[in-house]
């Protein structure tokens, strides 16, 4: 251990401990609020522990028959999207990373452009409807199959891999698809884990597509949409005067408040991600030894 090592270690640990404190606090606070009596939370002053413990917030959010079916739909769309999206994005990324591919530039251009142009809500709705994707489960999976951002990230990663691996495989007579599945995919694990995480989280958190395309079919409702619904009925901050007045008229004593619903929602949505996360994390925190996979 040199002096530099020790100083570096001190800096590293102190700054990380500081970061852990400021990033853990909001979550602990949210957790405390979610287990606290809603009306009592309205008084403020809750930090790390609930003051008036209750499970009522969870009961009122999860205790609805709708929630279970919606959770199933959410899990399904997340799993399917993650699988399809990660695989197909990687495949296109591989094709576009081949320097000899004559349509590489054209296709890259087509994809890059999509990041910055948008036809707008109404034309997109018309498209989905004419494709039969309204009131249809597949609207959750199909439109986002390959996204430009993820594509570019994976392509950049592939560019960083040693070209010699591909060449030697080619000499051995392997075709592009074989090279992709046998060599590139295994080497891409860290970036694929990252993209899978991005896709999964985006799908798990999505509710706007349900709102646009599937809102009239309760069988296709997603968990986030159901939670948004409960939040909206508990009177949302971005709501309108009419909404709030109507609720005040019906509500009388409301035992769930927007604050407690939001906290509980956050926990419900985050916990599954936190559970799945370590399985992906090992790919990019531990790191891969390229040498190990080379042969």
């Amino acid at each position: 251990m040199t002096k530099e090592d020790i100083i570096l270690d001190i800096v590293v640990y102190i700054s990380l401990i500081f970061l852990v404190i400021v990033t853990l606090y909001p979550f602990l606070n949210t957790l405390a609020v979610s287990f606290n009596d809603a009306m009592d939370s309205g008084k403020g002053g809750i930090y790390l522990l609930p003051r008036k413990f209750t499970l009522y917030n969870y009961k009122s959010l999860l205790g609805r028959t709708q929630t279970y079916h919606a959770t199933l739909v959410s899990v399904l769309r997340t799993v399917l999207s993650t699988l399809f999206c990660t695989f197909s994005t990687a495949m296109v990324a591989y094709a576009l990373s081949r320097k000899e591919f004559v349509l590489r530039k054209l296709f890259s251009f087509i994809y890059v452009l999509t990041m910055y142009i948008d036809g707008g809500l109404i034309p997109t709705y018309f498209l989905m409807r004419s494709l039969g994707l309204t009131n249809n489960f597949w609207v959750y999976v199909l439109p986002g199959l390959v996204t430009a951002f993820n594509l570019i990230v994976i392509r950049t990663y592939i560019h960083g891999l040693p070209e010699s691996l591909v060449e030697s495989a080619r000499v051995d007579g392997a075709g592009d698809f074989t090279i992709f599945t046998r060599i590139i995919l295994p080497l891409c694990k860290p970036v694929l884990a990252t993209i899978a995480l991005f896709v999964a989280v985006a799908n798990w958190n999505a509710w706007f597509d349900t709102f646009l395309y599937n809102s009239s079919n309760s069988k296709l409702s997603t968990l986030q949409y159901e939670l948004m619904k409960i939040l909206a009925t508990a009177n949302s901050m971005t709501g309108s005067l009419e909404q709030a007045m109507a609720q005040a008229a019906t509500g009388a004593t409301n035992t769930i408040t927007p604050r407690s619903v939001r906290a509980t929602m956050t926990v419900i949505v985050t916990v599954p991600i936190a559970v799945v996360y370590p399985f992906l994390q090992r790919y990019f925190v531990h790191g891969l030894t390229l040498g190990g996979i080379k042969e």
Binding site: I122, F137, I230, T233
Partner: protein
């Protein structure tokens, strides 16, 4: 292994998607409905809901609003994908403009005797320019109005202040702030924390709690951004944002801000923080509409009953007579409508006719006689202690009883029925006082009243009331002007109140200069509509 699980997944997907198509097929009629406001999901079976379903044979497929209404309405109109019935708040008329609603006149005449009878008083107000009626407002007042415990709005003051001062009656702005200032001097801290003299809410769209005040100081009820003033027998739409009252009011806030009476961060806090501060019991005064402080008041009633808020009708000076209470009105510009997509309009109107009749309304609001309420020898409804307890549990009320699912979002009745019962149990006249909590009773007794709203004058009737139900056409010059005006209010009011006292005059003049040109178009639209209402209602 992997293939198998993928196959299994696909199988589940198909079952999930396939079951979506199989919604109740036998015998019952199904109507799809959309509401332009958030609604909880109907649990499938409730006491009230099952009775309604049995008696009408109608099953509802409900959709409430989740995202923003503008997007939803735009998509629905553009695509023509409509439910059978809909109500989309102030955008309902856009569906009519797009020719997507069917006129109700003939349907009501032929198939809906109850609607005809109960909306008779409002019928003229509902007619559009073409003489047709396209929607039923969600509230009708067929007999007489009723009373509520709390008035719609007021300058609220902490009970502790009133008690210490010997229960004074507060009339003017100066009296109100004097009381607060004196109490604050004597008690700089409450429950170990700093006393907050006055709080004014300014969080995004809720900022009307601050900017609406000048009209009330002049004695008017909540008209909105402009006030129709009776001049030579005609209602002329006037602005109040640069009135003398506005100047006195902002100057007073400015003075109090610099004295430390108005909370330092009052213009920076959001609604949650506002409720938080009031709930702590250390806020002495705030102006608002009651429904905006209700949440805090309920916490105070439970945890700190001596600090509850008491409303007063405060005006600018002794010369002004206040009429701040709402005149009972219906929202004539929006309501439940039947769309061109509805295959059975007769069935739909019959269903609505069933919902609106008195028996169904009593079922929805009061419940089943003998089970959820009793009737005394005078024919007045009441609830026993046990029944009351049931209804105090909001979960039971909503998901087991189920009444709330058919109230407020459907056409419904308000006020007093022909026997003197209120349609809403909370407003049953003989029960308001007796059902109040001890701490509320103490205040009522001190002022010799049976409800806080008795501290206010009875409203005087105005045919057009209120101005704010007039919808400014979306995207029109008046609409753009309105947004700009609100932007100016949003930017200048905090500046005025928070400036140094000797700087106030300067900021006020800047504000007047900025806001004055931004009212012409709106006044024009409002004036036209007020004239129309005075002529046709």
């Amino acid at each position: 292994m992997k293939r198998k699980s993928l196959f299994l997944l696909l199988l589940i997907v198909f079952t999930v998607t396939a079951t979506g198509a199989l919604v109740s097929a036998q015998g019952t009629k199904v109507f799809t409905m959309f509401w332009g406001e958030p609604l909880p999901d109907y649990p499938g079976s409730t006491i009230v809901g099952d009775i309604i379903e049995r008696e009408t044979g109608v099953k509802l497929q409900r959709e409430g609003l989740v995202g923003d209404l503008e997007t939803k309405v735009g998509l629905m109109i553009a695509s023509g994908d409509l439910p059978d019935m809909l109500i989309a708040a102030h955008f309902t008329s856009l569906f009519k403009d797009a020719g997507m609603l069917i006129p109700l006149n003939d349907l009501v005449e032929k198939h809906a005797p109850n609607i005809k009878r109960l909306y008779a008083k409002h019928w003229e107000q509902l007619k559009q320019e073409d003489g047709n009626v396209y929607w039923l407002p969600i509230q009708a007042i067929p007999y007489g109005p009723d009373e509520s415990k709390y008035p719609e709005l007021g300058f609220f003051i902490n009970k502790k202040v009133l008690k210490e001062a010997g229960w004074p009656v507060i009339k003017t702005l100066d009296q109100y702030f004097d009381l607060i200032e004196n109490y604050m001097k004597k008690h700089p801290r409450i429950n170990g924390e700093k006393t907050i003299g006055y709080l004014t809410l300014f969080d995004s769209w809720r900022n009307f709690a601050t900017t609406n005040v000048p009209q009330h100081l002049l004695g008017y009820p909540n008209e909105g951004e402009f006030v129709p003033v009776l001049e030579n027998g005609k209602y002329v739409v006037r602005q109040y944002h640069t009135s003398h009252a506005a100047k006195v009011y902002y100057q007073k806030l400015n003075e109090m801000y610099n004295k430390g009476v108005v909370d330092k961060e009052t213009f920076v806090m959001n609604y949650d923080q506002y409720i938080e501060k009031i709930s702590s019991g250390r806020v002495l005064g705030t102006f608002n509409q009651y429904w905006q402080v209700q949440e805090a008041q309920e916490v105070l009633l439970r945890d700190d009953p001596e600090s509850i808020l008491v409303p007063f009708p405060v005006v600018l000076d002794e010369l002004i007579e206040e009429y701040q209470r709402d005149i009972p009105y219906i929202q004539a510009t929006q309501g439940m409508s039947i769309t061109t997509a509805c295959k059975d309009p007769v069935g739909a109107i019959k269903f609505l006719d069933y919902i609106i009749r008195e028996e169904t309304q009593h079922l929805i609001q009061w419940g089943v006689k003998g089970e959820h309420y009793e009737v005394d020898e005078n024919g007045l409804f009441y609830r026993t202690e046990e029944q009351k307890k049931l209804f105090l549990d909001p979960d039971w009320r909503r998901d087991v009883f189920g009444g709330p699912y058919f109230y407020n979002s459907f056409p419904s009745l308000r006020g007093i029925d022909q026997n003197g019962n209120s349609f809403m149990p909370d407003r049953q006249p003989n029960l308001i006082y007796s059902d109040s909590q001890p701490t509320e009773k103490e205040v009522m007794d001190a002022y010799g009243i049976k409800a806080f709203s008795e501290l206010y004058n009875k409203p005087v009737d105005k045919k057009y009331y209120p101005l704010w139900t007039i919808t400014i056409p979306a995207g029109s010059p008046a609409h753009i002007e309105q947004t700009r005006m609100k932007d100016i209010l949003n930017a200048y009011v905090p500046k005025m109140v928070m400036s140094k006292t000797n700087n106030f005059e300067k900021v006020w003049n800047e504000y007047v200069k900025a806001i004055s040109p931004l009212m012409k178009e709106q006044i024009k639209v409002y004036q036209e509509q007020i004239d129309w209402r005075m002529e046709n209602w």
